[in-house]
Symmetry: C2
Subunit: 167 residues, 2 copies
DNA sequence: TTAAACTTTCAATAATTATTGAAAGTTTGT
DNA sequence: ACAAACTTTCAATAATTATTGAAAGTTTAA
């Protein structure tokens, strides 16, 4: 496999994988492109490489910036904006985990808490609803706590966690 | 909040949350309904409760069975099939984690391995592609190993893992 | 202050994904 | 062997989500 083929394969795989880490295809592809680029890229270059429109590029870059994964940089002597992504995979994983917790897990915890707190009217079905949603609430909170614990452990968190598990 | 409202809220929240654990809305809603049901439900009952068609119910039940989350049960004196879901949240989490690893993470690991193994032609861009995809490969493998370690630890794995982390 | 260079917005459209419903298929009791 | 009871399949359709492109908006250099 040559460079170009490997590059295309990586970008398209990462793109279709977006759903795994909760973002859309174009967003994931832009991130992938920046991730293997040796220098900051302009909007023009991103559009050309990925064959996507200006509007699409602009919107998805904004989302990546909102996530904290991509930053604007200035290039000496250039008027247009250039973009770079976080290059350290562990830092990247930390950011993604933190954002998903905030955006998706926390809201669910809130609703599970509400639902599992309804008044027990003594009926079997109410008891079952309370019991099951309480269990889910507890599980979700525990997982979120684990994620946040990991995430706040800046240095080499993955490696550290693995060491703990495998010892 | 009364029973019916809590039930509806739980089912719709769990449904729209499907994407978080990689399944579609109807699938997640069927699972949610079974999860808080006090008895096995027939296809008829599921259709009625969720207001979805027979075809949709049939297809999504099949997928849930493929995932290993739902099982058919026979009810004495009844000709039609009834369905139940795994009621233990930890077991449920184990199954989901295992399936997602198999369906989504493993294939990505394979591709990252291929891409990161291309011949180094000495150019800067090739070096960068190899370096970055290698890092991603390593991270993904590590995470997958952690998931599988957790997943094979049948009893109370969540609690155990938390104890390790917080001590 | 102007106009060229550049970015953002958003209504229209395309692409994708989910859902329906009726026909075909299967199983079971007699 | 038949037909009633039930389930599955799948082409058509609906709903959702992503993408385009051109107009509006912004910034900068002279």
């Amino acid at each position: 496999m040559q460079y170009q083929e490997a590059k295309d394969k990586f970008i398209s795989t990462w793109g279709s994988l977006g759903s795994l880490w909760g973002i859309n295809k174009a967003m994931a592809q832009i991130q992938a492109l920046l991730f293997i680029s040796t220098k900051p890229l302009s909007m023009e270059e991103i559009m050309d490489e990925l064959k996507i429109s200006r509007g699409n590029t602009s919107m998805n870059l904004r989302q990546l910036i909102d996530w904290g994964i991509v930053s604007k940089t200035i290039v000496a002597g250039e008027r247009k904006e250039f973009f770079t992504t976080e290059k350290d995979v562990q830092e990247l994983a930390r950011i993604v985990a933190k954002e998903r917790s905030r955006r998706e897990i926390q809201p669910v915890i809130k609703i599970l808490d509400e639902v599992s707190s309804i008044k027990d009217d003594g009926s079997e079905k109410t008891k079952e609803l309370i019991k099951q949603t309480k269990a889910l609430h507890e599980l979700t909170e525990t997982m979120d706590a684990v994620i946040n614990k990991l995430v706040n452990q800046k240095q080499n968190w993955i490696t550290k966690s693995v060491l703990k598990f495998f010892k």
